[in-house]
Symmetry: D3
Subunit: 229 residues, 6 copies
């Protein structure tokens, strides 16, 4: 049976899922696994608070347990990596078969570390930044962080706000010019559509996190590497 990489948007916003869908399209290749983007029906419209993060963990566990028999890999497509270690723990069980689990925040950072010396992060809200900083500490990669800048927009506003790209460029410029970043991570799955123009405007590499994680998932799926907890 052909297995599938499931890319799960933990918020219930179909516009965000559609953006992820477009972003990862190039990773679908004839000889590779299927890649399916799903929306977590139980999720909030945007994951912006710590509460939002916690609220999707059990639903994600329930969904991923159902997907496990047909899963080549699981991608959790929210930049807060909600439930990452719990889903890994669940998917590590050997029956029917362990499944690799990638978080888009972790994967974006690991990818950025191969593209520049110091990474900068464009966050949606100022309140996102302490959460991100805790994560870089957990990952042990703070020495490579140039800094973070927020654009002050909710997940919902990202798509529709006329000024989204403009604000992202301004944030990216501060990260590049003031804080010394030479690679930029877009800190929200909802920013996916802006990768190309942002990279062009800044002249340094820009990592779209859902692409980063799905690419890692593709490698793991092809290699049959299931990984640990």
């Amino acid at each position: 049976m052909q297995k599938t990489i499931y890319v799960i948007n933990p918020n219930s916003n179909p516009v965000v899922t559609a953006g992820i869908e477009t972003a990862i399209a190039r990773l679908r290749v004839a000889g590779g696994p299927a890649i399916e983007c799903l929306t977590l029906a139980a999720g909030p419209l945007g994951i912006q608070s710590q509460y939002d993060v916690e609220s999707v963990v059990l639903p994600l566990l329930e969904l991923t347990r159902k997907l496990q028999p047909t899963a080549a890999a699981i991608v959790l497509a929210c930049f807060s990596d909600p439930g990452l270690h719990a889903v890994r723990e669940a998917m590590a069980q050997p029956a029917p078969m362990p499944v690799p689990v990638l978080g888009i925040c972790e994967s974006a950072a690991l990818t950025a570390l191969s593209m520049g010396g110091r990474f900068g992060v464009i966050a949606i809200m100022p309140t996102s930044i302490p959460r991100h900083l805790r994560n870089w500490g957990t990952m042990g990669i703070l020495d490579r962080l140039a800094g973070e800048e927020s654009i002050g927009m909710s997940v919902a506003e990202l798509a529709t706000g006329a000024s989204t790209l403009e604000r992202m460029i301004a944030a990216g410029q501060r990260l590049r010019d003031v804080k010394g970043a030479d690679v930029i991570i877009m800190g929200c799955a909802g920013m996916a559509q802006f990768r190309a123009p942002l990279e062009q405007a800044l002249g340094i590499p820009v990592v779209e996190p859902s692409q980063a994680a799905t690419a890692m998932a593709l490698g793991r799926a092809l290699l049959h590497w299931h990984g640990g907890v």
Copy 2:
């Protein structure tokens, strides 16, 4: 024109190249880029000293400059990542087009960070360890290192030594049980053939570095992400 991921073995040992060839075979997929494994004719039989590392840098630059017009990505398949930043610098030039460059040491570590909490490294020689430690420091990921253990064999001995796997398992057990590693990196491209039995013996994930780097290269190639210096 279909482009190619070039996986370059910087030593001139065709046995090592053949092992890499086998290891990355699964990453060749219909619809994906071609993947070609090359042996650097100018390289020594094994890269074991700092001199060996330095001796291959200019030849690697010369070779990669020739490959650039047809390259989807370049993988430097020696665990010392010889010339990584120089090759990146050369391949970042915009004519004809920037090419992503992955080192197998860097890529192995970045992959391991998504598979466990603390990584252990099986080194070939005791003298390899200080070189690796410098690299983990450069990468800023020392907090995630459990430790290193060497098996005391040259690159050439790896393939033929009857006791290679046995020594690798013993080293892996020390890393897992004494130093607390929950993911293992094989610290030499010449160890590729031992990944599966080693993983089975240890019961924790084992990262084969050429696979890790080629998988990352595949993602970069499919996404047309060229990355920085």
Copy 3:
């Protein structure tokens, strides 16, 4: 109205709550706030897996929201600090009044840092250790960690196992003699009863985490310091 420090045992094991009750008794003083120990009815019998951790977060949020009007402070008395940042976020809301929230893992470490140069941790299960390490990374205090040793017992077994203290002493000796710890943290609220004999056996300070957190909560309550998210 006299307010209360609520010390919440997120598992549903009344034996553990009773042990906490005994441990924090000395912190009830005339003129100070009331201190009440609660058991989270919705919790599992012991919090041992990442799933267990995640499963109690929403129930903890629901309970603490109810307690907020009468709370002087909240102590989350599980060494995984489940939901710590979500509860802080919820309790930071100004109506009726922000409430300080302490996690026993974080508080134990902060207290240990004032009692010795390098802290060692006695964990219940080997699988607890990676979770703890992530937390020390999040807190940015890995340079002060001597190491961790597990005793291989579930939360339920702790209380009844005849060999619990014996194993804890052996683990503490390894932390002290091999890994260089000069202060020990007991890595589970269910170990509370063993603090005194363990300290006597080891001859170095031993931190009981529920005591550490409740003591910090007492200070915060008396000072009317509500703290941040």
Copy 4:
């Protein structure tokens, strides 16, 4: 015999001692230990240079040895934590009984780590900052430091300077807005009276170090935890 927490101001400025006295008043509770604030007669009017720090160490040792028989805990109330480890060493002797020793700088930082993600410090003089940085390095918590800003006033000027609060607010705003602090530490015992208005002006938690240390001392005294060197 009822024991006493001694809060020692190592400078000889009674205005500073009076400020500490007011600050810690809420920590005196009917059922708790007595808390007595003392002024070190031998100290300089303000501790501003490294010489000042060193000059009070032996007098502090002499004083604390005298206080030991009646001490529940000792608080060294100068932000340079003068002689902290020497006093701990002296008070750890078992006759008549080991006494916990808290420094206000160390305690302020440990408290701040439970109140925010990154702490900023308001220093009195620019020359204070390198001394503080050495201390954060000693404590191993530099990853949590947002930065320091000085107000350019001596200890003596703090109390009387009409512009003290104004300068502290400006420094706090730079720490919050430019350097990303979400919790502020007041870097001098002589700033105690400004905690409430500063916190109100900044809208993020502000730690007064003498309060932080005395609160920790209270917990240690109630729990009969004597701690290490």
Copy 5:
């Protein structure tokens, strides 16, 4: 036989060698070893790219092997420390005798750490900075780095540019005032002549790297300490 400290300028620019010659003159003392400054004929006019760095490694190895029989110590006088570990490896061989090898970047940093709390670096080009940052990571001293500022001049322009000193002072002021440096490292051997006026303008210590390394070499030569790889 009287041995000689060889200070090798890896670029082929005699103006730079002359500057080094002047800078280290005071380290020639009666009773001490001879000190000879050499220009690597095979080097480029300035070492500015990663390619430039790599291009001089084998020529440096060849030259130092020739010098070994008469060498008291070797100083590699380029701020990129090209081939440092390879030359150390070569010079550690016991025949005729191991020779200490110092790089001016490493030595400048080690010296600066004894002269201030946080060091700032004046780089020639913006592209030099990521290379330097990798080196501070390799050395494990990033916690002591205040920051880097570039003056945007090539090695060749340094000597002749009328505005060189002016730009260095401006960079030094930003490092001191904005980034908190209290000691400055001049990040290129070609800046040697500007040490005194720069130090006078900034009022904080300025480290000239060739002097720093040659001074360390002098100590090693006098003590007959040969050191490791």
Copy 6:
């Protein structure tokens, strides 16, 4: 006037001073500054406790102030670097002229960082180790520390104990073989006489701290570099 490097033994043990005298003899060169070894009369026979450290600070300040007019540099020859920052502060005053101040612990570490990848330290007493660890934290170089081992001897016993060298070799072997040190620091000025045999027994570089600091002082004196606080 010819100035003098003063190497001050802060303990009052003339045997230790004599050992330092012998150790630094090679650094006296015809054209260099005089080097004079002094014994601090007010010091204890050995500096072993934190109290011992603190007790010599003011006497050292008094002595160094007297020496300042004729000092080319000051070396504080106790491995606890007592009063290092206070003496630096005092000697930085511009009248008559700033004088560089080196501590032997700091200098030994900075020297070791140029001789190996990970340094190990042989401490006299187990209680010395936490003090050293605080210092490596202050210096920000913990990532380069392999570990410490004590030999359980007082300063006084070092010289006379028949087993001193034997214990040092055993400690050095544990540091090299178990903890991965490739350079060893002797953690007491009183060990000076054992450098050569220890280095021969271990086969890796051994740093004698008084030599390391005096060598750095010689460089600073010759270069007229006065340095910072």
